[in-house]
């Protein structure tokens, strides 16, 4: 006779789902998430939303002024969102190959955010569009 009043679920589940297995499944989820993000960003599919574009503009403006921002510095721009949101958008910009991280010349521990040629091409095309519209 089985005693159904006993607490069965723990006894059954714990040995099957060990901590290692749970960690592995969590890793699998993150890998899947990264993969879908990457697939969405395949050429032609990358969506530069206004929020992400605003962040890109701030990053490029600082870089153009000769003082590129570090990851820590950009995460303190409260008007762009919370630090977690900014970090997520920064990650998206890196996945879209619009910014890259380079070591600071004066301090190799510090990493500065620098636009890629793709980002510069994007701003060039914007400038051309503005010029064409105003002509």
């Amino acid at each position: 006779m089985y005693d159904l009043t006993a607490q069965p679920s723990r006894n059954i589940i714990r040995p099957i789902m060990s901590k290692d297995t749970k960690t592995e499944l969590l890793s699998l989820y993150f890998r899947f998430s990264a993969l879908t993000d990457s697939l969405k960003g395949l050429y032609g599919g990358a969506e530069l939303t206004p929020d992400i574009e605003a962040l890109l503009q701030v990053l490029c403006a600082h870089w153009h002024a000769g003082s590129p921002l570090s990851v820590r510095q950009v995460m303190q721009f409260e008007r762009l969102g919370s630090s977690a949101t900014i970090f997520k958008r920064l990650k998206r910009l890196r996945q879209m190959d619009l910014v890259m991280l380079l070591e600071a010349p004066d301090d190799p521990r510090k990493r500065q955010i620098v636009p890629t040629t793709r980002a510069l091409d994007y701003f060039s095309s914007q400038a051309l569009a503005i010029r064409a519209a105003s002509a």
């Binding site: 006993a6 607490q7 006894n11 890793s27 990264a34 993969l35 697939l39 395949l42 890196r94």
Partner: protein, 202 residues
């Protein structure tokens, strides 16, 4: 009083803990995906087969890359296992091809993953820095390794005749198939996102 506990047979499986039997599950999933995709591709693109085992559109290569990205080495081993199951029907009476071709098909995407991700992202287990560019590079290198490995095997076992043409056809098939699959998935994901957004706004 007998409480419901884990059956003894399952308890015995705990000795497999160092192997982490979730990896065995990954292997089985990868093997099923490998065989299934090969079978479906054969059904759809049978007319585009230029030689035994060479097709001008071979999208199972894309499945292999995605499987290896998700499941890592267990995924590659599962694909190798799948290769062993299908190779007797492709390379009849070709012992060399039957024995070694599955290793090439299963391990080429894994080798590409090791090379590309180690170089670009330090191969984090979460793939958080996997960019679209990296994905395309990975598919290309995997296609090169796969077709190169197969053609070397064909030369060694004196199977096939025009090896340079076979290499080009296999490379084109792997690349075209994988890219078609990736862009197909991309369209599906974007369509899904739109659907979710419209549901939220409604």
């Amino acid at each position: 009083m007998l409480a419901i506990t884990m059956p003894r047979t399952l308890r015995a499986l705990r000795i497999l803990n160092p192997i982490r039997w979730i990896h065995l599950v990954y292997m089985v999933i990868a093997a099923v995906l490998g065989i299934g995709s090969w079978w479906i591709n054969g059904l759809i693109f049978q007319n585009l087969e230029v030689s035994s085992g060479i097709n001008l559109v071979y999208w199972p290569h894309g499945i292999r890359v995605l499987t290896v990205l998700l499941f890592g080495l267990p995924g590659a081993l599962g694909l190798t296992l799948a290769g062993f199951m299908v190779s007797p029907s492709i390379y009849t009476d070709q012992i060399w091809m039957m024995t070694f071709a599955p290793f090439v098909s299963g391990l080429a995407p894994y080798a590409a993953r090791r090379v590309i991700l180690l170089e670009r992202t330090g191969e984090s287990s979460h793939l958080e820095l996997l960019s679209p560019k990296t994905l395309i590079s990975l598919v290309t290198l995997s296609a090169l390794l796969n077709s190169g490995g197969h053609i070397l095997l064909r030369i060694a076992s004196d199977f096939g005749d025009n090896h340079p043409a076979e290499f080009c056809a296999m490379l084109a098939g792997d690349l075209l198939g994988a890219l078609t699959l990736l862009f197909g998935f991309r369209l599906l994901l974007l369509a899904w996102d739109k659907l979710v957004r419209s549901d939220r706004s409604a």
